[in-house]
Symmetry: C2
Subunit: 256 residues, 2 copies
């Protein structure tokens, strides 16, 4: 029996501790191939590189594992893995992360980690993005690794839903002993309450620097934000069909 082929990628770049933590678990479940950006890509959203050429360099980073750095975005990495490295041969699973920082709630739409996972899902590959609620470079990934392992064990038994191959997983910043469990939930309705820091550069030109705080405006106890706030890892089955079906008929007036 051949081992499953598992593509690992991320948006924090090949040298982020999060991808090493993910590879360490993934290698117990199949033949791992790593394709990751050569520099951090946070906040890139679902960008793809069409205006310039992409480079792919083999790196000796994880013992016994084929790993490639790419000068593109996380979505580019998935495209290159599928078309160039795998030459359209089967990839059984795509794992993206472990991201340094949350991709819960609305953050999925800004997320390079999730854009890589989504790109794989569009290609028909079962796909999970993992994010830890800790921005620190030296974050403790042991709880996240426990969640990855637990989910891969279960996914191997139960498989993915036929119509939903994309999971957005976030892990709270707690020790393995403090983790309450894993919750399957919906995306909370939140937004970024932005502020711009206004300053003057050395040439006396005004600049605006984005900062902000996340606001959860969703009071439900069935959301990813609720799960994370209460010590659970959150799993949101996600899709790339953005149609708001419930309002289709309400907009019929445009057809008149």
């Amino acid at each position: 029996m051949t081992r499953p082929v598992i593509l690992v990628t991320n948006d924090d770049g090949m040298n982020a501790p999060g991808i090493a933590a993910l590879v360490e678990v993934a290698r117990d479940f199949g033949q791992v191939i790593v394709v990751a950006p050569n520099s951090p890509q946070s906040g890139q959203g679902h960008a793809i590189t069409i205006e310039s050429p992409l480079r792919l360099n083999k790196v000796d980073k994880f013992e016994g594992i084929d790993a490639y750095e790419c000068n593109g975005t996380p979505a580019d990495c998935v495209k290159l893995a599928k078309k160039v490295l795998r030459k359209d041969q089967h990839i059984d699973l795509c794992l993206s992360g472990i991201n340094h920082g949350s991709n819960a709630s609305i953050n999925i739409i800004y997320s390079g980690t999730m854009s890589a996972a989504m790109e794989a899902a569009i290609e028909g590959i079962n796909s999970i993005g993992f994010s830890l609620l800790d921005y620190n470079f030296d974050a403790d990934f042991s709880t996240a690794q426990y969640v990855v392992r637990s989910m891969l064990e279960k996914a191997m038994v139960h498989g993915f839903h036929d119509k939903c191959k994309l999971l957005n997983v976030n892990i709270p910043k707690v020790s393995p002993g403090e983790l309450k469990g894993i919750k399957v939930c919906r995306q909370a309705d939140g937004y970024w309450k932005e502020e711009f820091k206004v300053g003057e550069d050395p040439r006396k030109q005004k600049y605006y620097w984005l900062s902000g705080e996340f606001v959860n405006r969703d009071s439900g106890d069935d959301t990813d934000m609720w799960a994370l706030d209460n010590g659970f890892a959150s799993v949101v089955p996600s899709q790339y069909d953005l149609t708001h079906y419930k309002s289709l008929l309400s907009y019929n007036f445009f057809e008149e």
Copy 2:
């Protein structure tokens, strides 16, 4: 009575003919403010700029209209408009485009045009992204302008759906006389069948350049692709809640 405040933005940049075509119609419906990137941003997805400062320059581009160029992404433009230029005062409507090229089907997730519109919708602003199925710089925008005008007239009467403030509008490359009408539809299930052009640069380094063709794998006659293929402009009410609700229960095994 005060006139509605209409924010116009795009991802092709301030000098693209598409944004001029949009401003020309929008100004008949309210007080227009334009904030657009200073260079084309296509394929940027929902990127936001957090690692570097943003600049905002007033430009004299449209007579009697406040217009600002920004060095950021389309989503950045919306954030700057709301927080810096409008200082959180009301914006009644955000119009993004008119994009040179399709944002139908799955293209919404790669689209800067739609990321700007989505950013506005998250902020609670009624929002429409317009795209014309013609990549040419000197495309004929008369049919697109007809659609914009028709939709704004109707939206002024009927208003937006309370739970869905985001519309993805695509216009076929036909003359106004050939346009069959406007159809409200769902997002077609399509994908990009990519190829990478492999080459060697002047320093003999291998490169990969993304190209590809769009494949519609959706046979429904209620999709945006069907509408466009049959001479209609398509309107897809869209959302940023990516939860795949139908599969929530199927993934309960992760909780065990």
